[in-house]
């Protein structure tokens, strides 16, 4: 099955660029990425820019409404994701627990829908 692991955390939580431990965290992320790649589970994944760069689009009655910012103003924001191919939910949970940001944020797991062909 394919799972999207969405990494949420408060943007001011955890190591920030310029901090000493920021490079260390990048190293931990690289280690995790290597692990899922070697296991053949990696389908994709990226880090996202901060929510200050986000734009939200809604179309209502054919009209586009553009708003500045993320759709929900919450403290914890989506910071990045991995798209993984896992045997089952248990394997996805095991990988999620290894994502460095899980230590101060959280990781939401969503199965990818299999569309009827």
């Amino acid at each position: 099955m394919q799972y999207l692991l969405m990494i949420y955390s408060a943007e001011d939580a955890g190591p920030q660029p310029g901090d000493d431990d920021f490079m260390q965290m990048l190293g931990e992320y690289q280690k995790f990425t290597d692990e899922v790649e070697q296991a053949g589970a990696m389908l994709g994944g990226e880090a996202l820019e901060a929510t200050t760069t986000a734009t939200t689009v809604r179309v209502r009655n054919g009209q586009s409404h553009i708003t500045d910012g993320p759709f929900a103003e919450t403290k914890e924001a989506l910071g990045g994701y991995y798209l993984l191919d896992c045997k089952d939910l248990d394997e996805a949970i095991r990988y999620a627990a290894k994502i460095p940001s899980a230590a101060y944020g959280c990781v939401e797991i969503r199965p990818i829908m299999v569309l009827p062909s």
């Binding site: 099955m1 799972y3 896992c86 045997k87 089952d88 939910l89 248990d90 996805a92 949970i93 797991i109 199965p111 009827p116 062909s117």
Partner: protein, 415 residues
């Protein structure tokens, strides 16, 4: 075999009672879909009901039911919109159906209930859902019966069960017994669900009477099944011993027709010595495995009570020591409250009082045992007004008429 409808109904009911969970567990494993498996099994039982009176019950009724259920599952899959993608599964089921047509005996049917139990108690489902799903799929409760256990509307409960079964399928919750690395935590969760079911029976709400033997029986059935399929697990044996100790006191606890009798006032001659012996033997088996855990400690506490010839004869020092040990595994308020009560009986009323003061009441504003414990300790500190005040708070929280009578009696004695 007789084809009298009455005896047939009995035999079918027996089959449903004893084999339903086993058959369902196999079907779910094969079709990977709780709802489809349940529908197929239901159809198979209906078909048995209409076919067997003429043809008599076959020698291998389980194989017959399984074969018939596969047939209905295949029909169900063919009716689905994306059925061509299900072709490999349909072929596989046809093959299984064919296998069962030969000289297949019921002995050859594997018991897959362990997978079913672990899937129902998967941590990706919330705990009340785990309890509901276990009662529904493993114990065969209808949505209405499960709803009654939780005081929910049947429709609400039915929707929750459907949602849980779809989540298992869509999110890929594995249908398997966890590997050795995961087993201890996952097994703890299963035991927690079983003990919740037991307590739902033991502390039944008033609408159901003071005790609901169906729940206590189902909890015993689940724990025994677990012990049979996953032997030599110290905590499984510990939970079995704990529940058997509780069960041994039932005749004394319910000796009066309209109120329960607390441990202190029970006629100990009514305790079921056979069950106490069985519980002791389970407990010894558990201890021999040298893997201590919270259920074994709770069983030990219950066992100390069983050894005492009277309430005053109870070894409270031993019980206090056991609660201290339990605290290391379960640092929770209920454990602290019980520890305090034991301390008060052991004679250390001040230590008991201090222990209760450490509890943050904001965290448990509605917890009845907290007020009962406070009342008990106030009584021992010769503060009857305080004790009555705590008892009236407990009274307001009690959902059980017989329990309220019991609290009222305690208040009357203090006045």
């Amino acid at each position: 075999m007789s084809n009298q409808p009455d005896s047939l109904r009995d035999q079918l009911n027996q089959l449903m009672r004893h084999e339903r969970a086993q058959l369902l567990a196999i079907l779910i494993q094969k079709v990977n879909d709780f709802e489809l498996a349940e529908d197929a099994l239901q159809e198979a039982f209906v078909k048995a009901w209409s076919h067997w009176p003429d043809a008599a019950i076959p020698d291998n009724p389980k194989s017959w039911l399984l074969k018939t259920a596969y047939h209905h599952a295949i029909d169900g899959l063919r009716r689905q919109s994306n059925f061509h993608r299900k072709q490999p599964l349909i072929s596989q089921l046809q093959e299984l159906q064919h296998e069962l047509s030969g000289a297949h005996t019921d002995h050859d049917i594997a018991d897959e209930r362990l997978r079913l139990i672990f899937s129902c108690c998967h941590p990706a489902l919330d705990e009340t859902t785990q309890v509901a799903l276990t009662l529904n799929t493993v114990c065969g409760f209808t949505a209405e019966q499960v709803a009654a256990s939780f005081m929910l509307k049947t429709t609400t409960q039915a929707q929750r069960l459907v949602r849980a079964k779809r989540k298992i399928k869509l999110s890929g919750i594995p249908y398997q017994v966890p590997d050795s690395a995961q087993l201890p935590t996952r097994l703890n969760q299963v035991l927690s669900v079983i003990y919740l079911i037991y307590n739902a029976g033991y502390y039944a709400h008033e609408q159901l009477g003071l005790i609901n033997p169906v729940h206590t029986d189902e909890a015993m059935y689940l724990a025994n099944t677990l012990n049979q399929l996953l032997p030599d697990q110290a905590e499984v044996l510990g939970l079995l011993a704990l529940m058997q100790f509780h069960q041994s006191r039932m005749p004394a606890r319910h000796a009066h027709p309209d109120r329960f009798i607390s441990l202190e006032h029970q006629d100990r001659d009514l305790w079921d010595q056979g069950l106490i012996a069985a519980a002791n033997s389970r407990f010894q088996q558990a201890m021999a495995l040298k893997n201590l855990g919270p259920y074994q400690i709770q069983a030990a506490i219950s066992g100390v009570h069983s050894l005492a010839h009277s309430w005053s004869d109870t070894d409270w020092t031993q019980i206090v020591a056991l609660y201290e040990k339990l605290w290391q595994y379960q640092p929770t308020d209920p454990v602290r409250i019980n520890h305090a009560v034991a301390l008060s009986y052991a004679g250390d009323v001040e230590a008991a009082w201090h222990l209760l003061q450490a509890i943050d009441t904001q965290q448990l504003p509605d917890y009845l045992p907290y007020f009962l414990a406070h009342a008990q300790i106030a009584k021992l500190r010769a503060e009857p007004d305080q004790a009555i005040s705590y008892l009236s708070q407990a009274m307001a929280l009690s959902k059980n008429q017989q329990e309220r009578t019991h609290i009222q009696q305690q208040m009357d004695r203090l006045r």
